[in-house]
C-alpha cells in the first residue's frame, strides 16, 4: 500500500522545508498539509472525522510550538475514535532525556504507533508505515 496524505505540525519553516523536500523524493503525488501549531492540526482532524474523510496516514509532530504544543496535541488526538491507523512521528531537536521519557510513557500507555526522531533528518524511511498498513489491510 501507499501513503496518500501526511500532516506536518511544526512552527519552524526550515524543518518544514526539509520534510517537504524529503517527502517529495518519496512520492511526487503525496498530499502534504502543514500546520503552525497543534491546535490548527487538531481542528483540521476534527473536521475530517466529521465529514468522514480519511485521516492522513502519517503526522510529523514538533514538540515546542505556540498555542498547543506537541504533547497537548497528543493528549487530545489520542482521545479521538478511529485514529489507530495514524502513524505519529515526533520530530524534535531536543536531546533532553525528559522528552524521551515522556514519549515512552505515551507509547506504553496507549500502544499507539508513535516514533521519536531526533533532528537532524537526512532522509525519511516510511517503509515501517506502509508495512503496518499492509498488515492492517
Amino acid at each position: 500500500m501507499r501513503i496518500n496524505s501526511v500532516y506536518i505540525v511544526d512552527d519552524d519553516t526550515i524543518t518544514i522545508f526539509g520534510l517537504r523536500k524529503l517527502l517529495a523524493k518519496y512520492s511526487a503525488d503525496l498530499v502534504v498539509e502543514e500546520f503552525r501549531n497543534g491546535r490548527l492540526a487538531f481542528d483540521s482532524i476534527l473536521s475530517l472525522l466529521e465529514n468522514n474523510i480519511p485521516l492522513p496516514e502519517v503526522i510529523f509532530l514538533d514538540i515546542n510550538m505556540p498555542v498547543m504544543d506537541g504533547w497537548a496535541f497528543l493528549d487530545e488526538f489520542l482521545k479521538l475514535p478511529n485514529t489507530a491507523g495514524v502513524h505519529i512521528k515526533i520530530i524534535t531537536s531536543s536531546i533532553d532525556i525528559r522528552d524521551r521519557e515522556k514519549w515512552q510513557t505515551y507509547v506504553k500507555k496507549t500502544g499507539h504507533q508513535i516514533d521519536f526522531i531526533t533532528k537532524p533528518i537526512y532522509e525519511l524511511n516510511l517503509e515501517d508505515v506502509t508495512h503496518n498498513m499492509d498488515l492492517a489491510s
Binding site: 519553516t13 526550515i14 526539509g18 515546542n64 505556540p66 533532528k119 537532524p120
Partner: protein, 616 residues
C-alpha cells in the same frame, strides 16, 4: 490482878507504838497489836485479838511463818520482805523483823513482830534503776558523755561515753592537762583552756562547739559544756557533758555543699530555669531567668505569675500548659514556645515543664526549663531562604540548559540538514533555495544567541545598583519612543499614577519592563475593540505595586498560567511572538528583588502586577 494490869498496861502501850508491831504468845495467838499494825493490815481489834496469827496466811505463808516463829521461840531473830494487797487493790511491800519476847526473867514468852512499809522505797529504787538505764541508753544514742572535775583534789572523772568519744580504753585515767590537750591545737585548745579557767576562777558556765583529735588521731566535732558547782559559796567542782556531733557537722557540711553545688549549677546553666507553685507563681528563678526578665535579684520575681510578666495571650497559653502538666503529671518536653514580654520583646524558646511532686505524690508545682533559640530560628529562616533562592536558581539553570540544548541544537540540526541537501542537490534553482534557507537559519541562530546573552546578562548582574526613580518619568520616556506604534494602534493610555510615586529600580531594567509590558498589551489586542491600557500603583506594606491593565485577548490562565513567563513560550497565533519578552521581564524584576504576577480572562483582558521592593 497484877497480870491483868500488866496486860492492860502492855496493851495500852503497844497500841501507841508508832511502828506497826504485834505481840504473839507461844501458841502464836495475837496478844496485842499497835494501832498502826491494825491499820496497815486493815483489822479491827475484835477481829483478831486472841486469834491464831497463822490463820491469816495462806497455806504457803503459813508453813514459812510457823517455821520462822518457832525459831524465834528458841531465841533466833528473823527478817524478811513480803507483800500484801490492800482492800483497794494496792500492792504494798513491807519488811518484817521477828524477835523473841522476853519477860523480866529472860524467859521467852512469845514473839514480837515488827513491820516496816517499804513500798515507797522499792518504787524509788525501781525508778532510779530505770532512770539510770534510760540515761545510759540516751548517752549511747546521743553520744553524750559526762565528766566531773574536783578542783581541790585536781582529779578528773570521765564517763564511759566520754572515754569512747576520745577513743581511749575504759581504764584510761584522765587529768585536766591531758583532757585539754585532746583539743585541736589553735582555736579549739585555746578556747577550752580559757573556758575551764573562767569556770574555775569566775564560776562561768559554757557550751561550745570545738574540734578535738582522738587518741587514734581522728578529727571529731564535739559540744563541750561545763558548769561550776559551789560549796559554801566557793567553786569546788566542775561538771559537764560532752557530745560527739561529728556526724551532724559532717552532714550539715555535706548538705551545704550539695546546696552550693545545686545553686551554682542552677545559676550558671545557660538556660532559664524556674520553679512555679500550683498557682503558676514563681518560687525560684535562676540568674539567666532574672537577666531575661531584666531584674537584678530573684526576689523581684518570686511570687509573680506569667500574667505579671508577659503579654496576656502568651501568659494564658503558658498557664494552660502549666495546668495540663500539673493535672496529668506528665512532663512537657522540648516544646517550641514564644514569649512576649510586657515591653513587646519577643523571644523563641525551647521549653520543658516537669511536674514537681511532693512526698505524697501530689503535684504542687512544676520546674520549667527554657532555652533561648531565637538565634537558631533566625539561622533556620536564613537557611530556608537560602535553600529557596538556591532552588529557584537551580530551576532557572535547568530551564536555561533545556533552552540551550533545544534551541541551539535546533539551529545546528537545521544547518546540518540543509548542508546535506546542498551537497546532494544537482538542480541549480533548488540549490539557491537551500542557500536562502541556510541564510535564514543563520539569522535565527544569531537572534537566539542575542536573546540568551541578554538573559545571562540579567542573571549575572544581580548586584546592579538600584536607584530611586520617578515612575511617571520612566513611563513618559517609553511612551515617547512608542508614539508612532501607539498612534497606529489607536491606543488609549490612561495613566492614573501620581507624579510623586518613586520606585527603587535599575534604570535600564525599569525601562525595558515598561516597554515590554506596554507593547505586549498592544500586540495582543482584541481585534473587536481599540486597545485601552490603564496604569495604576498601590502601596502595600513595604512594596509598591505597579499595574498595567489591558482589554486585549486575555490568556487562558488554566492552560498557560504556569508557562507564561517561561522562555520561548508563546500562546497566541501571532507571528510577532518571540517567547522571550516576558521571560526577560520576569528575570529583570527578580534580579531587583521584586516579583510579577498576572490576572487574565480570555477575551476580557490581562492585568500584570509588578511588585517593587521599597527598602529604606
Amino acid at each position: 490482878m497484877l497480870k491483868a494490869i500488866e496486860t492492860y498496861a502492855l496493851s495500852y502501850l503497844a497500841q501507841q507504838l508508832p511502828q506497826p508491831t504485834a505481840f504473839i504468845n507461844t501458841s502464836f495467838e495475837l496478844v496485842c497489836a499497835s494501832q498502826s499494825w491494825l491499820d496497815y493490815f486493815e483489822f479491827t481489834p475484835h477481829e483478831i485479838e486472841g486469834k491464831q496469827i497463822l490463820a491469816f496466811f495462806d497455806e504457803h505463808g503459813k508453813g514459812h511463818w510457823e517455821n520462822c516463829l518457832e525459831n524465834c521461840l528458841t531465841g533466833e531473830k528473823e527478817f524478811g520482805i513480803q507483800n500484801t494487797v490492800s482492800s483497794v487493790g494496792k500492792e504494798q511491800w513491807f519488811e518484817w523483823t521477828n524477835v523473841p519476847w522476853y519477860d523480866e526473867q529472860e524467859n521467852i514468852i512469845g514473839v514480837i513482830i515488827q513491820i516496816k512499809d517499804i513500798t515507797k522505797r522499792l518504787e524509788n529504787e525501781l525508778k532510779y534503776e530505770k532512770l539510770e538505764n534510760l540515761l545510759k541508753d540516751q548517752s549511747e544514742i546521743a553520744k553524750v558523755g559526762t565528766w566531773e572535775y574536783n578542783i581541790g583534789s585536781d582529779s578528773l572523772f570521765w564517763s564511759d561515753m566520754t572515754k569512747k568519744i576520745h577513743e581511749v580504753p575504759l581504764d584510761f585515767e584522765p587529768n585536766m592537762d591531758r583532757a585539754i590537750n585532746f583539743y585541736e591545737q589553735g582555736h579549739s585548745r585555746n578556747t577550752i583552756a580559757m573556758l575551764a579557767h573562767n569556770g574555775i576562777h569566775r564560776g562561768e558556765s559554757w557550751s561550745q562547739k570545738l574540734k578535738l583529735i582522738t587518741e587514734k588521731g581522728r578529727e571529731k566535732w564535739v559540744i563541750a559544756a561545763g558548769k561550776p558547782l559551789y560549796k559554801n559559796g566557793e567553786v569546788t567542782r566542775l561538771i559537764g557533758t560532752f557530745q560527739d556531733i561529728t556526724q551532724q557537722v559532717e552532714q550539715q557540711k555535706k548538705t551545704k555543699e550539695n546546696e552550693q553545688l545545686l545553686r551554682t549549677l542552677v545559676d550558671n546553666l545557660p538556660l532559664n530555669l524556674y520553679i512555679k507553685d500550683a498557682e503558676s507563681r514563681k518560687v525560684l528563678v535562676n540568674k539567666a531567668e532574672c537577666q531575661y526578665l531584666g531584674v537584678e535579684s530573684p526576689q523581684e520575681l518570686i511570687g509573680q505569675s506569667d500574667f505579671d510578666l508577659y503579654d496576656e495571650n502568651i501568659a494564658q497559653i503558658s498557664r494552660d500548659e502549666d495546668l495540663q502538666v500539673m493535672k496529668t503529671k506528665k512532663p512537657m518536653i522540648g516544646k517550641r514556645t514564644i514569649s512576649i514580654k510586657k515591653d513587646g520583646v519577643s523571644t523563641s524558646f525551647l521549653t520543658s515543664k516537669i511536674p514537681l511532686l511532693n512526698l505524697e505524690g501530689e503535684c504542687k508545682g512544676l520546674i520549667g526549663i527554657s532555652m533561648d533559640i531565637s538565634e537558631i530560628i533566625q539561622k533556620e529562616n536564613q537557611l530556608s531562604d537560602l535553600i529557596n533562592v538556591t532552588a529557584i536558581q537551580n530551576k532557572k539553570l535547568i530551564n536555561f540548559a533545556h533552552i540551550v540544548s533545544h534551541n541551539l541544537r535546533s539551529h545546528t540540526a537545521n544547518f546540518s540538514m540543509l548542508v546535506d541537501f546542498l551537497a546532494k542537490e544537482e538542480q541549480e534553482n533548488e540549490k539557491e533555495r537551500i542557500l536562502e534557507m541556510l541564510a535564514k537559519a543563520s539569522d535565527n541562530l544569531m537572534d537566539t544567541l542575542e536573546n540568551l546573552n541578554e538573559v545571562v546578562d540579567i542573571s549575572t548582574n544581580v548586584n546592579l545598583e538600584k536607584k530611586s526613580l520617578n515612575l511617571n518619568e520612566q513611563i513618559n520616556r517609553v511612551q515617547e519612543n512608542l508614539t508612532a506604534f501607539l498612534h497606529q494602534n489607536k491606543v488609549v493610555l490612561d495613566n492614573k499614577i501620581s507624579d510623586k510615586v518613586y520606585v527603587k529600580a535599575v534604570p535600564a531594567y525599569l525601562e525595558s519592563i515598561i516597554l515590554n509590558l506596554l507593547t505586549n498589551a498592544v500586540k495582543y489586542q482584541n481585534p473587536q475593540r481599540n486597545p485601552k491600557i490603564t496604569l495604576t500603583t498601590e502601596k502595600k506594606g513595604d512594596q509598591i505595586i505597579f499595574r498595567i491593565e489591558d482589554n486585549g485577548l486575555g490568556i487562558d490562565m488554566e492552560k498557560y498560567g504556569k508557562k507564561l513567563f517561561g522562555m520561548y513560550k508563546t500562546f497566541h497565533n501571532n507571528s510577532d511572538a518571540r517567547g522571550i519578552g516576558l521571560y526577560i521581564t520576569k528575570n529583570q524584576i527578580e534580579a531587583m528583588g521584586g516579583s510579577i504576577i498576572v490576572c487574565s480572562e480570555v477575551n476580557k483582558g490581562s492585568t500584570f502586577s509588578v511588585y517593587f521592593k521599597d527598602e529604606n
